[in-house]
Amino acid sequence: MNALEARQEKPLPVLRVEAVCKSFGGIQALNDVTFDVPAGSIFSLIGPNGAGKTTLLNLVTGSFPADSGQVVFRETMLNGRKAHERVALGIARTFQNIELFGSMSVLENVLVGRHVKTRCGFLGAMARLPRTIGEEREARSRAMELLDFVGLRDAASQRSTDLPFGWQRFLEIARALATGPRILLLDEPASGLNAVETSSLAELLEKIRKSGVTLLLVEHDMSLVMKVSDRVLVLNHGMKLAEGTPCEVQANEAVIAAYLGRDKAGPRC
């Protein structure tokens, strides 16, 4: 755990959420939530259904604005920035219900991810300038690398929605990585995966972290969360219930009462 603590002491968090509130109609989805995501960590958000985890993710990616509070990415204030601008800054995401581009091949899906890293516009595409051709070639080779990275190289030319469910999740991750993020937000990546797929997901998450990308994970699969996370934040009714290392959180009485239950509790480390 020493190495891990050293990592947490790095000065600049990659993402800082400060006193964020959000309500929908009369429902307070998030109430004064504050936390830092340390650079290079795997940071998990857990909590019962309706605790506000996905809302928090959507606030960070810019799907809708916060009522109050602020989100800071490295040194950039995100408030008021549109979703697509945040991607260019280095924030990528996947969706709880997989949202692949169904009319496209596996490779094309990842190529769409290269959008922010390429430049050509309408005229460039029509004129097919040497620069456009070079850019396209580079995008393709990078996309193939990423398919290799998640183990989908052989499926490159298949239609994306023809892939088995678990592979679709991996493809969505590859597509998000293609945007060249510094932080990747994963919304329940293990849901619908079988045990084998979940364990290869855990390996993949480690691999992504090693490549220098910070991970923010919303997840219900506790064994996955406790295995891969450096830090865990527990949300309950839109409020922060606890935050700490997996061990600390698992030992926390309030967390056990609200979410984990007795059988999953207890310090194991």
């Binding site: 979703a83 949202e99 581009f101 009319s103 496209m104 769409v112 050509c120």
Partner: protein
């Protein structure tokens, strides 16, 4: 290769046809191809419906018509003005309209089409209901495009260049982004695509193609009236895209051809013409929901793979 074949087909059709009626019919297919192509970029690829595209078709026709008839501009300056005006109108209308989606976008563009129709009818410059007469023909330097054959080649040159450019656009970063918006706008914006901006841009492109088609139409027939740009024309454009095949550039060509030739050949049914016309469209949609182009290709491929399997079995 495909383009060489295509150009050869146009040349052959042009030189082998001598009847002015048939030459003009082929020319109309070219003009309608431009309309269908532009709308397909918007509807088929990007998934944004427009039920008011005849407005841009009319805008192109009337802009160049009015400027050449009343102000004696050169038609080419008229074309430039038509394009500029179409771009401006499309920008102006797209900014609020493309915030809408689905049915609402359909209704919004429908309203725009209606407004433009009223404008064409009410303005004194456009000649109102009785139309605009005496629109001059086209010249390229000393070469007159007055003969039906020359005009046919000119229209098809424009159509082929447009198809070529649109095909390049589709197979590019921008084309992928457009298709991404069609598949899932949420996911597209999570890929860093500025979906709002891109939707406006593709709307403008499709408006320009419609305006160019309007220009070609006006200088071909030399007389235009509001009824050539009414709601039914917008619907016919949508039908061309759907019949030919959504998200299929070559399908636009096929859809335009079918919807141009079919009404002409159906006149033998005289008063039952519209019924037969409707039936043909229904049957196509039921049998080939992907559109003619994709549908026929699928049948061909299926037949091919069946033949392949049969021969493999006989060998095994």
């Amino acid at each position: 290769m495909r383009y060489l074949f295509f150009i050869a087909a146009v040349l052959a059709a042009g030189f082998l046809t001598s009847s002015p009626y048939k030459l003009q019919l082929l020319t109309f297919i070219g003009i309608n191809t431009l309309l269908a192509l532009g709308l397909n970029m918007l509807m088929g690829y990007t998934g944004q419906i427009s039920l008011g595209h005849a407005a841009f078709y009319g805008l192109g026709a009337y802009t160049s018509g009015v400027l050449t008839v009343h102000y004696h501009w050169s038609p080419w300056l008229g074309l430039a003005a038509a394009i500029v005006l179409a771009v401006a109108a499309a920008f102006f209308i797209a900014l609020p309209l493309l915030q809408l989606s689905g049915f609402y976008l359909g209704m919004g563009t429908l309203g725009f089409g209606m407004i433009m129709f009223v404008v064409f009818r009410q303005m004194s410059l456009t000649g109102g209901d009785s139309g605009l007469v005496g629109i001059p023909g086209l010249f390229i330097g000393p070469l007159s495009l007055d003969s039906p054959r020359n005009y046919l080649f000119f229209v098809w040159a424009v159509a082929i260049i447009s198809i070529f450019l649109c095909e390049r656009l589709i197979h590019s970063r921008i084309g992928r982004a457009l298709r991404a918006i069609h598949d899932s706008e949420r996911a597209a914006s999570s890929m860093g695509i500025d979906t709002g901006k891109l939707k406006v841009h593709i709307f403008v492109l499709s408006a320009v193609l419609a305006a160019v088609a309007g220009f070609l139409y006006a200088h071909l027939v030399s007389f235009i009236s509001p009824s050539s740009f009414d709601f039914l024309v917008s619907v016919r454009m949508v039908t061309m895209v759907v019949i030919g095949g959504m998200a299929s550039i070559w399908g636009s060509l096929l859809g335009a051809a079918v919807l141009t030739v079919l009404p002409e050949t159906l006149t033998v049914f005289s008063e039952y013409e519209m019924i037969v016309y409707g039936l043909v469209l229904i049957v196509i949609m039921i049998l080939l929901p992907q559109g003619l182009f994709r549908g026929v290709l699928d049948i061909y491929e299926r037949a091919g793979s069946k033949a392949g399997k049969a021969s493999a079995r006989s060998q095994g």
